[in-house]
């Protein structure tokens, strides 16, 4: 649970918990993060696949000395941390985008159409999920001690991992890529997305998709960018044939530079784009590829 050092939690002692069947490699990596005081490992074959129902009681058992329990706002973190909050009967602050003090946090609501500041009482623990796109990644350069933590809780067997399938890709990871090209419904088909893959490979970019394109079956669900998909903050975001529904814009608002390419000059995406180009994407995308 990488709690990113933040001005207002400065001075907090940060521990990272690594729950795994074999924790050595990840623990060694975690120990190098600047600002981390110690790494706690819990090794158990039951932790081979991350199942919230199995991990949560172990995290709750480790929670004793900590005031804050943080995880990432990914499907993994959101699934897990709320179960931890339930076990601890503690409040959870979801999607933390700013930390104002040890008890005060800012988070988006209504798909990012409003920002809410919430305050915990200061008594008891606070559980949170952190929007990683809103914070700088911790630097490396630390050398925290790695300790085996003893956790004696009975783990449930009522939840079992079967499989996970993900399209294998050599492209950068969508959530951490510096450049992302996303396509919308205007791509017209899964076939249509190929021009984006081609340009992305030329640029070393990851490929994303709007909810409309995923719903239409043009791209798999893990490519969805937006409030109900992935929230990303690349250096460069190129929205191709995406009209710019609010829930999509929520997913890209922290991008450094947004480029919009759309045949409809009135599309809402142009309201947020740093660079806009009105025209036929099927001509423009191959042309860009030729020019770079």
């Amino acid at each position: 649970m990488p709690a990113r050092p933040s001005a207002s939690l400065a001075g907090a002692e940060i521990a990272i918990a690594v729950l795994a069947a074999d924790a050595a490699a990840v623990a060694a990596e975690a120990a190098q993060l600047a600002g981390v005081a110690r790494v706690l490992t819990v090794e158990n074959t039951a932790n081979l696949h991350p199942l919230a129902a199995v991990l949560a009681p172990q995290i709750a058992a480790l929670a004793g000395p900590f005031t804050h329990l943080l995880g990432p706002s990914t499907t993994f973190g959101k699934d897990l941390m709320a179960r931890v909050a339930g076990l601890l009967e503690a409040p959870q602050v979801s999607d933390i985008m700013a930390i104002e003090s040890a008890t005060r946090f800012r988070r988006p609501i209504y798909a990012g159409n409003a920002i809410l500041t919430v305050e915990a009482s200061g008594e008891g623990k606070v559980v949170g999920t952190v929007r990683t796109a809103s914070f700088e990644a911790a630097a490396v350069g630390g050398a925290a001690p790695i300790e085996k933590a003893a956790v004696s809780v009975t783990l449930p067997t009522h939840t079992r991992f079967v499989s996970v399938s993900a399209a294998k890709s050599d492209r950068p990871d969508l959530q951490t890529a510096a450049r992302v090209i996303s396509g919308g419904r205007a791509l017209g088909s899964a076939e249509g997305f190929k021009i984006l893959y081609s340009l992305a490979d030329r640029m070393g970019a990851a490929v994303g998709a709007s909810r409309a394109a995923v719903d239409a079956g043009y791209a798999p669900n893990e490519m969805q960018v937006g409030q109900t998909g992935k929230i990303i903050a690349p250096e460069l975001y190129v929205a191709v044939g995406i009209s710019g529904a609010i829930q999509h814009l929520t997913g890209i608002k922290d991008a450094r530079t947004i480029v919009a390419i759309n045949k409809d000059g009135e599309a809402p995406i142009f309201e947020v784009a740093d660079l806009g180009l009105v025209g036929d994407l099927f001509q423009i995308i191959p042309e860009i590829e030729r020019l770079i």
Binding site: N113, A114, L116, H158, S163, T228, L236, L277, I284
Partner: protein, 249 residues
């Protein structure tokens, strides 16, 4: 009896462009169209399909909130739920309180499955299903895009960041729905008339033995910061030039 309990929430309709009140105390809801939270509508649809396939005998829909929430319960009954449970509550009701109340309903109704939306589109907390599963000490299968029941287990396909994950859970369990699980049906007029005769029980936190607790104070609501409007370029060449100047290519 094999029952499914579905929790729903009344929220501002997904198509409404919300406005933050000038004094920062909340979001304008007066005179604004309200609806069943879309993910909860998907939860109800899934429960109805399971029942229609013979996998359950009764679908119960429940909500917690002010009196107006009963409108959404009536809509859910018109969609096909058999009966409704309404728990009166005013003001902020946090996920832990909702989960405690749902747990009391579970103890009364003994459902084999509880289906909830993965999050409400107003507060976007996305916690209630997981908190409930923790309190109930039962499995959770969140972000479900496919649900297959067989005997005492359910096989659930989950939309996770890596792709699609399949897990198997023992029943009873809590399922939370993602967008692509199904497409909810439209309510037909004759069903709205019929729904008026379906049972709707009113309950209170006191009667359920739940003490509502607010652990997070809502300090301030603000509109999001606006991005500066950018510039238009005329063609691909000009775009590539502009990106090169910014050091992005």
């Amino acid at each position: 009896m094999k029952r499914i309990l579905v929790g729903i929430k009344r929220v501002v309709d997904a198509n409404v462009r919300i406005r933050v009140k000038p004094d920062g105390s909340g979001v304008v809801t007066d005179g604004v169209k309200m609806a069943i939270n879309p993910f909860d509508e998907i939860a109800l649809e899934e429960a109805l399909r399971i029942k229609e396939r013979g996998g359950a005998e009764e679908v119960i829909v429940a909500t917690i909130g002010p009196a107006d929430c009963q409108q959404q319960l009536r809509t859910a009954l018109a969609m096909g739920a058999d009966r409704a449970l309404y728990v009166q509550a005013d003001g902020v009701v946090e996920p832990l309180t909702v989960a405690r109340a749902l747990l009391k309903l579970i103890e009364r109704e003994q459902p084999m499955l509880v289906i909830l939306g993965k999050q409400a589109i107003d507060d976007d907390n996305g916690q209630t299903g997981q908190v409930l599963a923790a309190l109930w000490n039962r499995p959770q299968a969140t972000y479900a895009s496919k649900l297959e029941l067989s005997g005492e287990t359910a096989r659930v396909t989950r939309e996770v960041d890596a792709g699609l994950e399949i897990i198997e859970v023992d029943l009873p369990a809590v399922i939370t729905t993602d967008l692509r699980l199904n497409e909810p049906r439209y309510v037909k007029l004759p069903d709205i008339m019929k729904a008026k005769k379906k049972p709707l029980d009113t309950l209170t936190f006191a009667a359920l033995g739940v003490e509502p607790r607010q652990q997070l104070r809502l300090v301030r609501f603000e509109p999001p910061p606006q991005r500066q409007k950018g510039i238009r370029v005329k063609d691909a060449a000009e775009l590539v030039d502009a990106l090169r100047k910014k050091g992005l290519l």
